[in-house]
Symmetry: C2
Subunit: 404 residues, 2 copies
C-alpha cells in the first residue's frame, strides 16, 4: 500500500480523488501496488463528502506522517504551495503538481531537491492538461536537438477567440460566456493577458533546452485588444487569430514569445478550436511532432496528475526526470525576428496610402465592409525593430498583429 | 561509459550510429553517462565506413561481451531477430528495437524476460516512427481507462492515397512513385495489404488494454483495390479515403480492425497527408488526445530508438515498462459494428435502383462524370453482418468502402 496526501480539495483536487476511486483497480495494476488517499488538506470542511473522514486542516499532519510517500499539490498559486512542496521534498516525499505558477517560479530548485533526495518532483499536468508533453520532452525526444516549440497553451483564450470567430461576438461577450461556463476566472487577467501561456512556454522551453528560462524574460502580449473587426480581417486573409506561445533555438540563440498571431488556415494550429490545446515540437532530425488534446478541465487534468502519482509510486526511491538545470538560459530579444505584420489604421486609405508605401514599400491593402472607419494593410517581411520604427511614422494606427 | 551494440547496419542501424555521433554531447548529458557504440553486427562489410573498425559478423561476440549492456535490434523480420534478442535479454542485456514484426509476434514473452531480469525491452520506434506513443500509453495515460485507439499507422499507404487524391493518379502509378522514393519496398505487400498497420495496432491495443492482442485475430483489409474513381467519389462526398487501424473497448468487449475508410474532411485524421502518421487515443476521462508526426524515415525512427537507449541507460538494472501481460485478449468480431457503407455498382442506376432500395431502404445515390460505367450509393447505418447479407442480393457490385 502506498499512501498519498492531496493538498487542496478544489476542482483538480476533487478530480484526483474521483479518478483514483473510479479507476482504482486499473491504476493499482499499473502501479503494482495499492494507492490510497490517506489525507486531504483544505481550509474548508466538506460535511457528507467522500473525504470528510480524511480531511485535515493542518499541513504538519501530512508533513510528519512517515506513511505518506507521495504528496499531490493542486492548490495553485506560488504560496503557500511553494513552502509546503519544498518541505515535503526535503522530508523525502515525492510531489506531483498541476501548478504552473509554482513550476515556472521555483521549478529548478524543487527539481534539484528531488534529485538530491532520490525522489521525484513531477508536473505533467502543469502544461497542456491531459496532453502528455512533459514526459515526451524528458524521455522520448532525448536523442534529438529541439529547435522549436510552438503551441496553443491556454484553453480559455482559445475558446474566446474561437467564439469571436464562429459566433461573431466581440471580446467582452466571449469572455462573459467563458466565465459563465467556468473556463475563465472571475479575474481573467492571467489567461487573457497571456501570463498563463507565458509560464507554460517557460516550463516547456526549460525542459527542451535543458536550462532555466525565466518567465519574466519572455515578451508577452495577450488577446484583450483583439476586436471582432480584427477577426473579420483575419477571415478575409484566410487566417485565424491564435494566441501562440513559442520558443526557438536559432544557431545557439534562444527566442521566446507569447502573442496573438495570424495563422493561415492551412496550418494545423489554425484548426485547434475551443478549449483544446496543441503543441508542435520541431527537432533537428525528427521534423515536426504535434500533440493535441483537451488543455484543461477537472478530470483530464486530474488524470495527468494521477499518472504522475503512478510514476512516482513505481519509482519511490529513484529520481527519474532531471534534465533541467538551475543554470539560467539567456533569451535574445525578438527585435531582429523577421516576419510580416497586419496593421489597422483609422481614416481614409487615400489620405495615407502614399505615406504607408514610403515607410513599408510593397504593402497589400485590405478593406472589409465591416470596418467603416478605416482600412488595413500587410507589410512585407521585416525585422520587428524596423517595423516599430516605421510604424511610429504612420498616423492613426489602431492596431497590429503579427503573422505566424 | 555505457557500451552498446547495434544489430543490423541497414537504414535504421546506420541512422542510429549517425544520431549518436551527431548529438553525442546532448545525449550524454541526458543519460548522465557516455554512450559508445562498441559493436555493429552485419553480414556485409563496409570498407571505409565509420563503423568499419567496429563491425562484427558473429553475433556471439556481442552476446559474450560483458561490457555490452544495451543491444539495439534494427534488423527487421522475426528471425534471426527473435533468437538474438531473446539470447541478449537472457544474458542480462537490455534491448531497444524498431521491429514491429518481432514485437507483435513475441512481445509478451520478451517483456516478461526483461521484467524477470530487471532490465528493459523497449520498442518506441516500432509504432509511429518518431511520434512518442508507446511511452505515453505506458506512463502518461495510466490513470484513465482507454476506450479507443484510431490512427493512420502506415506512412507508405498514406502517401499512396494522398498522391491518388492530390495528383489524380491511379493506384499503380502512386505505388511506383512510392517505390521510387524509397517509401515502399520492392515487395510492397506488407504495407499495401495492411499487414504492417495490423501489427502496429496489435501492439498499441495490447499496451492500452494490458493483455496480448494476437495480430492474426485482427480483420485486415488493404488499399490495393482502391481506384482513382473511388477517390473521385470520396471527393464528391467531401471525404478522404484513409487506411485506419483501430481498436475499441465497448462495455468490456474488444474490437479491432484495419481497413480503408471514408473520413469526412472535418475530421482531423482527414488532414494527415503524405508519409505522416497520426494516432487518436480516447480515454474515459481525458477525452481525445492526438499524436502526430513523421511515421517513418531513417533519422526520425533512429531518434526514437536512441531515446529508448537513453532510457535503458538511465535504468540499467531496473525494469520500467511492463503493463502488457502474456494473457491473451479475446477480440469480438466486427459483424455487429454499425456504420454506413459506400457501394459502387456497374451498370445503369435505373436498372437496379428499386432493388437497392428494397435491400437497404433510404440510400443516397451518387453519380460522378468520371464513372461512365456505373454509379454509387451510401447506405443508412447498419450492422456489418446485415450489410453483407443485403449486399449479396445486389448484382454487379464493384466495391464497397466503410464510413468512419
Amino acid at each position: 500500500m502506498i499512501n498519498i496526501a492531496v493538498l487542496g480539495y478544489g476542482t483538480i483536487g476533487s478530480g484526483v480523488v474521483e479518478v483514483i476511486d473510479r479507476n482504482n483497480s486499473s491504476i493499482d495494476g499499473k502501479t503494482g501496488d495499492n494507492i490510497r488517499v490517506k489525507h486531504v488538506l483544505d481550509l474548508r470542511d466538506f460535511p457528507g463528502d467522500r473525504v470528510e473522514s480524511i480531511l485535515v486542516h493542518d499541513f504538519d499532519i501530512i508533513l510528519n506522517d512517515p506513511e505518506v510517500k507521495i504528496v499531490v499539490e493542486v492548490m495553485g498559486g506560488v504560496e503557500p504551495a511553494y513552502t509546503f512542496v519544498k518541505k515535503c521534498l526535503l522530508a523525502g516525499k515525492s510531489v506531483c503538481t498541476s501548478n504552473k505558477e509554482l513550476v515556472a517560479a521555483h521549478g529548478p530548485e524543487l527539481i534539484k531537491i528531488a534529485k538530491d533526495k532520490s525522489i521525484n518532483f513531477l508536473f505533467e499536468a502543469s502544461v497542456g492538461g491531459a496532453i502528455p508533453i512533459i514526459r515526451p520532452l524528458c524521455s522520448s525526444l532525448t536523442a534529438d536537438r529541439i529547435l522549436e516549440i510552438k503551441g496553443i497553451l491556454n484553453g480559455t483564450t482559445n475558446y474566446i477567440l474561437t467564439q469571436m470567430d464562429v459566433e461573431g461576438w466581440d471580446f467582452d461577450r466571449a469572455l462573459s460566456k467563458a466565465q459563465e461556463l467556468g473556463y475563465a476566472e472571475r479575474n481573467p487577467e492571467a489567461d487573457i493577458e497571456g501570463y498563463d501561456a507565458c509560464r507554460k512556454i517557460a516550463i516547456l522551453s526549460s525542459l527542451a533546452f535543458g536550462k532555466s528560462v525565466n518567465y519574466e524574460d519572455i515578451y508577452t502580449e495577450g488577446i484583450s485588444k483583439i476586436t471582432a473587426t480584427d477577426i473579420k480581417y483575419a477571415g478575409k486573409m484566410d487566417c485565424k487569430i491564435k494566441l501562440l506561445a513559442s520558443s526557438e533555438n536559432i544557431d545557439g540563440k534562444y527566442y521566446a514569445m507569447v502573442a496573438p498571431f495570424l495563422v493561415k488556415s492551412s496550418h494545423p494550429l489554425s484548426g485547434v478550436s475551443g478549449v483544446f490545446n496543441a503543441i508542435f515540437v520541431k527537432g533537428s532530425e525528427i521534423d515536426d511532432v504535434m500533440f493535441y488534446g483537451s488543455g484543461a478541465g477537472k478530470l483530464p487534468t486530474a488524470c495527468a496528475v494521477v499518472a504522475d502519482v503512478v510514476d512516482a509510486a513505481r519509482h519511490l526511491n529513484e529520481n527519474i526526470q532531471t534534465i533541467w538545470s538551475e543554470e539560467g538560459l539567456e533569451l535574445t530579444g525578438s527585435e531582429n525576428a523577421t516576419r510580416r505584420f497586419f496593421v489597422r489604421v483609422f481614416g481614409k486609405r487615400s489620405e495615407c496610402e502614399n505615406r504607408i508605401k514610403e515607410e513599408f514599400g510593397a504593402v497589400d491593402f485590405i478593406e472589409i465592409p465591416e470596418d467603416t472607419d478605416g482600412f488595413g494593410f500587410v507589410t512585407p517581411a521585416l525585422a520587428e525593430k524596423s517595423f516599430d520604427a516605421h510604424l511610429a511614422n504612420i498616423p492613426n494606427v489602431s492596431g497590429r498583429i503579427r503573422f505566424e
